[in-house]
Symmetry: C2
C-alpha cells in the first residue's frame, strides 16, 4: 500500500480506510488565507509513491474543488508515481447536460479539468449519472454503496416496499430491493384532469401498510422527497424511510422531512459534515477499502 493522504475527508472515512488498508494516514495541511484564498500543503515526501487522496465534494463545493486541483497538481509536480482520488461525493454531477441552451455541462468541465492535471484514477460513490465519468476516461470508477447500506438495515425493516423516485432511476431501487428481498416500484406523478390535483403514487404496488424505502443517489433540499413522503403516508404507508448515498440535507431539509413523515434518512459517510439527527449514518470505509483493493487501487 502506498500513502493515504486525507484532504477534506468525510467524517470517519479516512480513519476507517487506513485501518482497513493497514496504512498510515497523513493529513494534508489546509487553510484559507484572510483574503479568501485556499492553501494546501503535502506533509510527506511522495516522490515515486502511489498516493491515495481522500476528499469530499461537500460542503462548500467550490472550495473543495480548488483544494483538490491544487493538491493533484502538487503531487504530480513532486513526482508521485500515481495519484488516485477517492472523492465519494462528486459535486456538479447533476449538471450533466445542457438542459437549456447556453448552460455548462459542469460535471464535464470538472472531470476534464481533473484529467488534464494528469490525475490517474478517480473513484466516486453513486454518481448521479455514471455516463458522466466517460469524460475522465479509463481510470474512473463508480461504486454504489446502496446495497451495502441495505444490508446494514435489513433486520430493521419489516414488509418493505422499495421505491425509485421516478421511472428513469429504477436501477438503484432494484439493487436495494434485491438485498432486502423486497418488491420494488417507482413513483409516478399524476394530475387529476378535473381538479388539477397532483398525486404521487407508486406505479403498480400499493404503499398501504408497508415500510416504504425511497432510494436515490442523494437528498439535497429534501423538497421532492418530502412531497412524496406526505402522499405515501396519506396513502397508508406504515413507515417512510429514505436510503441515499449522499445526505446533503441543505437548509431546513431535516424539519421538512420530519414534518412530511420521513422517519429516517439512511446514508453513508461521504460528506465532511455533522449530520442532522434524522440521519442514520453508516460507515462505508471498509466497503470502499475492499473496492479499492479489488480494483488494484490500494
Amino acid at each position: 500500500m502506498g500513502k493515504v493522504l486525507c484532504l477534506t475527508p468525510p467524517k470517519g472515512l479516512c480513519d476507517g480506510l487506513v485501518a482497513s488498508l493497514n496504512a498510515e494516514a497523513h493529513f494534508i495541511e489546509r487553510k484559507k488565507f484572510p483574503d479568501g484564498e485556499s492553501y494546501v500543503r503535502i506533509p510527506i515526501p511522495v516522490s515515486g509513491e502511489d498516493v491515495l487522496v481522500v476528499h469530499t465534494g461537500f460542503p462548500d463545493q467550490n472550495d473543495r474543488v480548488i483544494e483538490v486541483l491544487l493538491t493533484i497538481d502538487t503531487l504530480k509536480d513532486l513526482g508521485a508515481e500515481s495519484v488516485t482520488l477517492l472523492m465519494p461525493y462528486m459535486p456538479y454531477a447533476r449538471q450533466d447536460r445542457r438542459f437549456r441552451e447556453g448552460e455548462p455541462v459542469s460535471i464535464k468541465t470538472l472531470l476534464k479539468t481533473l484529467s488534464n492535471l494528469d490525475l490517474d484514477y478517480l473513484v466516486v460513490v453513486d454518481i448521479h449519472k455514471e455516463y458522466s465519468l466517460s469524460e475522465f476516461g479509463g481510470g474512473a470508477f463508480n461504486v454504489s454503496v446502496l446495497p451495502y447500506l441495505a444490508e446494514k438495515i435489513k433486520d430493521e425493516v419489516e414488509d418493505p416496499l422499495v421505491l425509485a423516485p421516478d421511472r428513469g432511476a429504477t436501477a438503484r431501487a432494484k439493487s436495494v430491493a434485491s438485498v432486502l428481498k423486497a418488491p420494488w416500484d417507482y413513483l409516478e406523478k399524476r394530475r387529476d384532469r378535473v381538479t388539477g390535483e397532483v398525486t404521487i403514487r407508486p406505479k403498480e404496488i400499493s404503499a398501504e401498510g408497508k415500510t416504504v424505502i425511497i432510494v436515490d443517489d442523494m437528498v439535497s433540499t429534501g423538497s421532492t422527497l418530502a412531497l412524496a413522503a406526505k402522499q405515501l403516508k396519506a396513502a397508508g404507508a406504515k413507515r417512510v424511510l429514505a436510503l441515499v448515498a449522499h445526505a446533503l440535507m441543505v437548509g431546513d431539509a431535516e424539519n421538512k422531512l420530519r414534518e412530511a413523515g420521513v422517519e429516517r434518512v439512511i446514508t453513508a459517510n461521504t460528506l465532511a459534515r455533522d449530520y442532522p439527527t434524522i440521519t442514520k449514518v453508516i460507515d462505508v470505509s471498509e466497503y470502499l477499502s475492499n473496492f479499492l483493493v479489488e480494483k488494484g487501487l490500494a
Copy 2:
C-alpha cells in the same frame, strides 16, 4: 468587435469597456444553487464569434475561479471562434513558487487549468509576478495601470517621493515616479543591534516634509503598509498615500490604514466590490479598452 460578455465584472468596468469599444454588453447569467454549486449561462449565441469575457478574481476567489472555468469550457463547446478573458485581478498570483516543500504553485495550477480549457487569450492587470504568466503560454498579457493612476493624481500631489515596499519591487515605483517626475526609493527594514527595534525607512532619501506615495500591485490586509506608514509619519512625512492596482482591503484594513496615517489608497476598479471610503477609485476601462485594441484583442 466581437461580443463582450460580463461575468462577474469589476464595478463600472464592463459598462466603461463596452462604451469605449462601442460594443454591446451581455451579462452572463450567474447564480448559486441552495446547496452551494455555481451556475452560469451564456445568454447569446456565440458560435463563430470572437468573445471577450470580463471577470474578476475577487472577492470570493474560489467561486470566481469555478465560474470562469464553467464559462470558458461552455463558450468553447458552443463554438466560439476565440475567447479572451480579461480578469484584471488574478487570484492566487502571490503563491508563485513553493516557499516551503510540499506547497502548491497555485498560480501555475490555475493558469494551466485555464490553458487546458483552450482559453485563447488572457489579459491581467499588474499581476504579482509577470513571469507567472509563462505557464499560460503566448496568449497571456499583463498590463500595468499604475502609470495611468499616477497620471490621474499628478495634480494633487506636491513634492512627492515614490517608494517601493522593498528592494525587489522597484519597477512599479519607477514607472510611477517617471510619470510624476518625482524621486523614488525603496523601503528598507533595519533592526537596531542594541535595542532590537525595527525601523522601516527609505534606503536613501529622507521622507521629511514629503508626500510619500507607496506603490505596490495590491494591498490585502494592509498590515505591511500600515507599519510602513506609521514609521514614515514618525519620520516627518507630510502625507502618506498608497497607489495600488488592486485594493482588496481585507477585514479591518481601512481602520488599520487610517490609524497608521495613510490618507488615501488610490486604486483601479479591478474588483467586484464596494470600495471603502479611504480608497480613491479610478476607472480604468478606457485605458484597458485601448490596450485590448492595441493588442488586437478587441
